[in-house]
């Protein structure tokens, strides 16, 4: 059964072979430029690789490094955030994102978070959506298998085996299902963005004539509430909200 699932996943995630080759070539080209210290050119190569081919965390990670080296912190943080979405649990990504966040102008606005919230965040970053999906699926198959076994082999000596399997798989399903629900919700409904312009003003409405309510700098992460005519209503983790120009920030 597991073999069939894996085959299925392979079918779902495969992409046309020709696009893959071009993107991979550009990616390797970018790496060569990076090694020569031509960071701007390397960034351009990675961007082209992403434009032509698959969304891959490694490319975003290397792109973030290239932007970091030419001091474009906003772009670097955006690329790291994207890489983290695709490769949660990757230590390099987490480390560089944290380091880049230290160098941005705006202070962390999220404030102090308690140990439980930190643990949940760590847990959420540990597994990818696909890993959790497969885990849930396998639990479902396993639980059904155990129940079928219970139906056809109702031997009282075997009963604890079947029920133990069902219960333990059920616990795993509950945990991974909850994590999956959080991740899917974040992916589908939370519209996060990173400020990429050097500085942008938050205004009370969509338009330059409105009163300036705050100023944001490169690299700051915001959550998009809605958009209107080239302006975005964004909320900061601290709760302040305001309209910024859509071109000054990019969705993760």
């Amino acid at each position: 059964m597991a073999a069939r699932v894996m085959l299925f996943i392979c079918l779902l995630t495969s992409v046309p072979a020709d696009a893959l080759d071009g993107a991979t070539r550009l990616y390797n080209q970018g790496n060569a430029l990076y090694k020569q210290g031509k960071y701007a050119e390397a960034a351009a190569a990675y961007e082209r690789a992403l434009a032509s081919g698959p969304r891959n965390g490694r490319v975003f990670y290397n792109l973030g490094n290239a932007y970091f080296k030419i001091n474009r912190i906003g772009r670097a943080i955006l690329a790291y955030e994207r890489a983290q979405r695709l490769m949660p649990g990757d230590e390099d990504v987490a480390s560089n994102l944290q380091f880049a966040n230290l160098l941005k102008l705006d202070k962390e606005t999220e404030g102090e978070v308690n140990a439980v919230a930190r643990f949940v965040r760590w847990l959420l970053n540990l597994f990818s959506v696909n890993l959790l999906s497969v885990a849930c699926s396998l639990c479902l198959f396993g639980m059904s298998g155990a129940l079928i076994g219970r139906v056809f082999r109702p031997d009282p000596r075997l009963r604890p085996v079947w029920m133990g399997a069902v219960l333990s798989l059920g616990v795993v399903l509950l945990v991974s299902g909850t994590l999956l629900a959080f991740k899917v919700h974040a992916r589908e409904f939370e519209q996060a963005a990173v400020v990429v312009a050097g500085e942008t003003d938050g205004r009370s409405g969509p338009g330059d004539e409105n009163i300036k309510v705050f100023a944001l700098h490169e690299g700051t992460k915001v959550f998009i509430q809605r958009s209107e005519g080239g302006w975005l209503l964004v909320r900061l983790p601290s709760g302040i909200g305001g309209w910024i120009r859509a071109r000054d920030a990019e969705r993760i």
Binding site: L12, G57, R58, N96, F99, L103, V129, N130, S133
Partner: protein, 606 residues
């Protein structure tokens, strides 16, 4: 006799000590009066612990005659920190009538208390022909007040007004100008409310003081005593050059009205009638000068007097280790216009963008404070290196010139970065310590890049795959139920088995037919049909007669034709069993087919 003497001595001691705080003030109710009018001159003596106050000595009044005098005295006792303070106020009131027109001065009055002479300030008074004084405060024109005559308004304006004073009328762009709004009144006011507050367009405004309640103080102005309340004080920083006219402030208030003709406004009112009036401050123009030409490079618009300091920690580091450099710009001026000081150009250091923090501060009425830029600096060369000066250029409006403040150069000693592979093997083992920090290196080249963008849950295939285990479980449960029923429910079991049994018997009959065993064939066909019927009807096969079969089938509404066929087959089998030789092979073949068809038909019916 001794006790009164002691009391008197204490009294004298105390009063002589307190008499130092004595004030003596002269006020008039109006400074411009008609020849037919009257001026009230009030001399007020206030002091703590005053004893008897002698009548003051009036100056020579050439142009006036005294038409009436009066005096009143009041004492206010207050307890402050357990100490009792008795403040006594004595008022001497004189009604003066002018005798001629012209400008006169009511000279200084004097009073001698405790052997010390106190005098008042002289008051200029103008006497004009006619009745009331007329005229108003120059430039101020409160809006027409409903229900008031022109004369009332004139009197009102003299005794109740809103005044705005700038601390200077000519400033540079970005220089602070402070506006002070004061309310002057000689009436008791109620319901004082702002009806319009200025917007200060073209200025960056910072409030220095906003009155939460009216806190009146006595102030003498043009010889008249006013109650004065400070309403608002605001610091403005003009953004552009040119003559800027500021919005007027408007204030609404109720003043008590006395219905007696002549005395229009007074402090007391038995009937509580009030008049709503609106006050407006003078229009005010500030001349904003542009900054002089010839600004040095590096000037970013900061106006004010600023000093720059810098500190670096640590002063001795390893190559590649970060140094924290704090550059603080502090002084008086608009902090928002203070930008990052010019970074020094140096190949010895790499300077990262600073973290900026500010702390605003008000010194008296001046806005100021400090802005700190915290840089991360990485030395890139080992040895004794000097972190060059950070320069901050500002315009000093007081000295009317540009000023450049620079931090002193800071010497840093940088030791070479430790390299582990130096000099072959190491004699002593050392713990590896992190000496610098950078981002982690890029990921290596790839053979192929998979698309990680599409998530499994977004594909229908994966979702429908999840139905499989549920379907399998449902199937398993259904099958289990079937098996249980076969075991427990005889009727169900016989019914489910009947078709298979009949088919098996018919196959056996077929073999007998082919083997030429006529009687055995008929017996088998008979058993196949009767057993099938018994199983289907859940009755014992042994007692199943042809009639019983017909009855059962009719009960179940089987067509008469099929019932007839069944009876026919049974009869033919019986007949063949008793007279086997008469039956032909072709007939047996037909019987076999008919039996098969009847069983098929019966299976659909019962």
């Amino acid at each position: 006799m001794r006790i009164p003497i002691i009391i008197l001595a204490i009294f004298l001691l105390v009063s002589s000590a307190w008499a130092k705080d004595l004030t003596f003030v002269a006020t008039v109710d109006q400074t411009r009066v008609g020849l037919d009018g009257q001026i009230t001159l009030t001399l007020t003596v206030t002091g703590e612990g005053l004893g008897g106050v002698p009548d003051p000595k009036l100056p020579a009044l050439d142009a006036f005659v005294i038409v009436g005098t009066n005096s009143s005295s009041s004492t206010q006792i207050s307890f402050v920190n357990g100490a009792v303070t008795a403040t006594k106020t004595v008022e001497f009131i004189y009604a003066l009538r002018p005798t001629k027109t012209g400008t006169f001065t009511i000279g200084a009055a004097s009073i001698q208390v405790e052997g010390k002479v106190h005098t008042t300030d002289p008051i200029p008074v103008e006497v004009v022909p006619g009745g009331a004084g007329g005229g108003g405060r120059g430039g101020v024109a409160p809006p027409p007040q409903r229900g008031l005559s022109g004369q009332d308004v004139a009197e009102l304006e003299k005794n109740l007004f809103l005044e705005v004073t700038p601390d200077r009328r000519q400033v540079y762009v970005g220089e602070q100008v402070t506006l002070t709004y004061k309310l002057y009144t000689r009436y008791g006011l109620q319901n004082v409310q702002y009806s319009k507050t200025p917007a200060y367009t073209g200025f960056w405004a910072e409030a220095l003081f906003d009155a939460q309640q009216l806190d009146f103080r006595q102030e003498v102005r043009n010889g008249k005593a006013f109650n004065v309340a400070l309403l608002k004080r605001v610091a403005l920083f003009p953004a552009t050059a040119g003559d800027k006219t500021l919005d007027q402030m408007e204030l609404g208030c109720d003043i008590p009205v006395r219905s007696r003709p002549g005395g229009l406004f007074d402090d007391f009112d038995f009937f509580g009638r009030v008049q709503r009036v609106t006050l407006r401050s003078d229009p005010l123009t500030i001349e904003v000068l542009p900054l002089p030409a010839g600004a040095p490079a590096g000037f970013r618009g900061a106006v004010g007097s600023y000093a720059v300091t810098a500190s670096a920690t640590p002063r001795s580091v390893a190559e590649g280790d970060p140094i924290s450099v704090k550059v603080t710009v502090s002084g008086a001026g608009n902090l928002d216009a203070v930008t990052e000081p010019g970074r020094p150009e140096s190949r010895d250091f790499k300077v990262y963008d600073p973290k900026v923090s500010r702390s605003a501060q008000k010194t008296g009425n001046r806005i100021g404070g400090s802005k700190t830029f915290e840089y991360v600096v990485i030395p890139e060369r080992a040895g004794q290196v000097v972190l060059p000066a950070f320069e901050f250029v500002s315009f000093d409006p007081q000295r009317r010139q540009y000023a450049t403040a620079a931090t002193p150069p800071i010497p840093i000693s940088v030791s070479p970065a430790k390299r582990l592979a130096e000099g072959g093997f190491r004699l002593s083992r050392e713990e590896v310590t992190q000496v610098g920090r950078d981002i982690r290196y890029i990921k290596p080249d790839a053979e192929s890049l998979e698309d990680q963008g599409e998530a499994l849950y977004q594909g229908w295939g994966f979702l429908s795959l999840q139905a499989l285990p549920l379907l399998a479980l449902a199937g398993a449960l259904a099958y289990r139920r079937h098996l249980d029923r076969l075991r427990g429910d005889v009727a169900y079991a016989r019914r489910r088995r009947s078709r298979g049994e009949a088919a098996r018997r018919l196959r056996a009959a077929r073999q007998m037919l082919e083997g030429g065993q006529g009687p055995a064939f008929h017996a088998e066909v008979y058993r196949a049909l009767s057993q099938f019927l018994a199983d289907r009807l859940n009755v014992p096969a042994a007692g199943l007669t042809t009639d019983a079969v017909a009855r059962h089938l009719e009960d179940r509404q089987v067509e008469a034709e099929v019932v007839g066929q069944v009876q026919d087959i049974f009869e033919r089998c019986d007949f063949a069993r008793f007279a086997p030789s008469t039956v032909q092979n072709g007939e047996m073949e037909r019987l076999y087919e008919e039996t098969e068809a009847v069983i098929g038909a019966l299976e659909r019916k019962i």
